[in-house]
């Protein structure tokens, strides 16, 4: 079942800085299907954030098409775009971007508010989502009382609030220590496996990226390489080295006893 959630056709983006033009993206073609977990890697300045902004309807391309759930969003006016952002996309930011004066539950409720979900329903769903990201009991805590990893969990719960077709995460682990990095990636991976959430994640970290099933490499605004991530085999619950059966939680293949390093832990390479 290859149902395209996102399709990019000949996407280009040129920033104009005074007289200088910066070609941030050139001729990008990409299709992301429902239930995929895609990681985008690339050096600094290669256009990762630019791409994500365009996918998230935060910015417009200079040329090309962006089809989101079959709708070309490049031609939509702003007053339609905010609805798309609210209902079809969930954002996870490097800096979490929680509202400091709202508690965890209220932060998760925010996107539902703009879709006019009734208050009781909002509260119920926010509670559910927080439980899903492992924060039950912390609903009334404000961001400053949560650790960085916990804040990012709240942000992920918030991104899921309106059941979006697509989760966009720009360096979701960029501000986290090794342990939290691992926790967050595991959370995203499990969401992808258990809920079938489509995820596009930008990262510098190869360990983090390897958790995805597709790895795209961006260089100078072009997708230069694509590779299968380890997540794919994990989804199939099969060891990438010996082909033996594994469990999703395993850190080591029970048959060949090789370390399943894509779990995002410290590795020896």
């Amino acid at each position: 079942m290859n149902e395209a959630v996102l399709k990019l056709e000949n996407l280009s983006k040129t920033y104009t800085l005074g007289k200088r033009n910066v070609q941030a993206l050139s001729n990008v073609n990409l299709q992301v299907n429902k239930g995929e977990f895609v990681a985008i890697m690339g050096p600094s300045g290669s256009g990762k954030t630019t791409l994500l902004n365009i996918l998230g309807c935060l910015d417009k391309p200079t040329a090309g098409l962006v089809l989101l759930d079959g709708v070309d969003v490049t031609s939509l006016p702003e007053k339609e775009l905010y609805k798309i952002r609210g209902s079809k996309i969930g954002f996870v930011f490097q800096t979490f971007n929680l509202l400091p004066y709202l508690n965890a539950r209220e932060n998760v409720e925010l996107p539902m508010e703009s879709l006019k979900v009734p208050k009781d329903e909002r509260k119920r769903r926010a509670g559910e989502l927080l439980a899903m990201v492992g924060l039950s009991g912390r609903e009334e805590h404000r961001p400053q009382r949560l650790s960085a990893g916990e804040q990012q969990r709240v942000a992920i719960a918030r991104a899921l609030a309106n059941n979006p077709a697509l989760i966009l995460a720009d360096e979701p682990t960029g501000n986290l220590d090794a342990k939290n990095k691992y926790e967050i990636v595991k959370l995203l991976a499990n969401l992808n496996i258990n809920q079938g959430t489509t995820i596009i994640m930008v990262t510098h970290d190869s360990n983090v990226a390897s958790q995805a099933e597709r790895l795209l490499f961006l260089n100078d605004g072009k997708i230069t390489r694509e590779k299968q991530g380890l997540h794919l085999v994990k989804k199939k619950l099969m060891c990438p080295y010996c082909g033996g059966k594994i469990q999703a939680e395993d850190t080591m293949c029970p048959s060949c006893r090789k370390k399943l390093k894509y779990q995002g832990e410290e590795d020896g390479d």
Partner: protein
């Protein structure tokens, strides 16, 4: 969590800042509330001044015009001791039969009678206090052009009060009532000598004796009404009527037969003044000079002279009024300026605070937009914050104004009373009305809240628009 509760939380998040902003805004609002009250107070005091003085002048003029043929003759105080002293003059102040005079100068309803106290003080039309031997002045009636000579006796009754001041004691007479003796002959039917405004009972009539016509003030003082008897200096009188005094000076006056008054006060044969009626207004000045020639010791004041004095007073009054009006105009001008400055200051405070807030929260705004908030929601969020801030400030402002309005308007506005100097009575009458006070009427509270909301909306319009225009990509930026 709605837009409103987020706005409230955002304001209360930065407590010190919110407090400072609210104090500054509240001060502007207090000024805005106090200024109109100050203007109103000044308008009221000017109006009071206009009405008060205007009616006094009109009344006085009318009275004088009615009595243009009337000439007041009194003995100047300096003539006391020239052999005109009454039989009782040798005795001291607080005996049963006090000396004529005292330090209160009552007058009759004609002449200066309708002029309130502030214009009195013996300026004109007032009764003499120095006793005159009645028989010395019979010759006046034979002057050509004189149609009637009415002798009167005016005696103040009161209690001596002794006060200690700077280690010395002073005695002053506090007047309780004033006895005015008027000849009750047919002359009172022909000439305006008695009060005309009778509020109860009847007026005195020719041939009355042993009866009095009292004022409302007397009635309260003695605790008597029409038909009651009253004891004055040991003698009993029947109260036949009560006169409604129209001026300050006959408020304390009770009228009786001249001969009753003379024997009652021990002044038989003595009077304190003569009212001479001339044939016509054309001969008044001739008659007056004839009287002066005959009795150079007398102070002779004609209706014409009283009119001239009144004219001087009117000019004085008009100057005062013009002063008051120009002060009022100045007040209104200043009020407009001060209000504009206060409104501008308040709007600028809201503008800068909200601009700062929007700038500070760029990331937050970007996030809200990225997760699906519309421009309109973001804009209303910030507008509401500005409006809430001003509303809270306006409550503070009203509270401050409710006790500090007089100080604020006094500091910022010129007051009418400072500019008007009409003589003691007038200044005293208006001194207290020049300062504004703010009463918290529901209309005022509503107006202040409405104004504050409007101002808050105006001040935060641009910042909120800026917020709405924030590009959501800002949420992705990490520095």
């Amino acid at each position: 969590m709605g837009v409103l509760s987020r706005a409230i939380r955002n304001i209360s998040r930065r407590k010190i800042r919110a407090l400072l902003v609210i104090i500054a805004l509240g001060f502007c609002m207090a000024i805005m509330v106090s200024i109109p009250a100050g203007v109103t107070a000044n308008q009221e005091s000017t109006l009071a001044l206009t009405q008060n003085l205007g009616s006094v002048i009109t009344q006085t003029e009318a009275t004088i015009n009615q009595t243009l043929t009337q000439i007041e003759c009194t003995l100047a105080p300096s003539f006391e001791g020239f052999g005109f002293a009454p039989p009782s003059s040798g005795s001291s102040g607080n005996m049963a039969q006090p000396p004529i005079g005292g330090n209160f100068t009552p007058s009759r309803p004609f002449g200066g009678g309708n002029i309130p106290g502030q214009f009195g003080g013996g300026q004109f039309g007032s009764r003499g206090t120095t006793p005159m031997n009645e028989s010395l002045y019979y010759d006046i009636s034979s002057i050509e052009g004189v149609v009637a000579v009415v002798p009167t006796l005016t005696v103040s009754q009161g209690t001596n009060q002794t006060m200690e001041m700077f280690g010395r004691s002073f005695t002053r007479l506090v007047v309780d009532y004033v006895i005015e003796g008027v000849p009750l002959t047919s002359v009172i039917d022909e000439y305006p000598i008695l009060p005309t405004n009778i509020t109860a009972g009847r007026n005195l009539q020719a041939g009355d004796s042993g009866v009095v016509l009292i004022s409302a003030n007397n009635s309260a003082f003695f605790g008597v009404g029409v038909g009651d008897t009253i004891e004055i200096l040991g003698q009993t009188f029947l109260v036949v009527g009560i006169h409604g005094s129209t001026g300050v000076e006959d408020q304390l006056t009770l009228y009786m037969n001249l001969s009753d008054a003379q024997s009652l006060t021990g002044n038989v044969g003595y009077i304190t003044g003569l009212t001479v009626f001339a044939e016509s207004s054309a001969v008044v000045s001739d008659v007056a000079s004839a009287i002066s020639e005959l009795h150079p010791e007398l102070t002779v004041v004609t209706g014409q002279q009283r009119l001239q004095q009144l004219e001087a007073m009117r000019r004085n009054y008009e100057t005062a009024l013009a002063n008051a009006e120009s002060t009022l105009a100045q007040t209104q001008g200043t009020a407009v300026q001060v209000t504009i400055v206060a409104v501008a200051a308040a709007s600028l405070i809201v503008l800068f605070v909200m601009l700062y807030t929007v700038r500070e929260r760029t990331r937050e705004i970007g996030t809200l937009k990225a997760i699906g908030f519309s421009d309109w929601t973001v804009m209303s969020q910030f507008m509401l914050e500005g409006v809430l801030l001003s509303l809270v400030a306006s409550v503070v402002g009203i509270a401050v104004a409710s006790f500090a309005a007089p100080t604020l308007s006094g500091l910022l506005l010129p007051t009418v009373t400072q500019q008007v100097n009409m003589g003691r009575g007038v200044t005293a009458a208006t001194a207290s009305t020049g300062t504004a006070s703010v009463t918290l009427t529901p209309e005022l509270v509503l107006m202040a809240l409405g104004g504050a909301a409007l101002l808050g909306a105006l001040g935060s319009l641009y910042p909120a628009w800026r917020a709405a225009r924030t590009r959501p990509a800002e949420a992705m930026r990490y520095e």
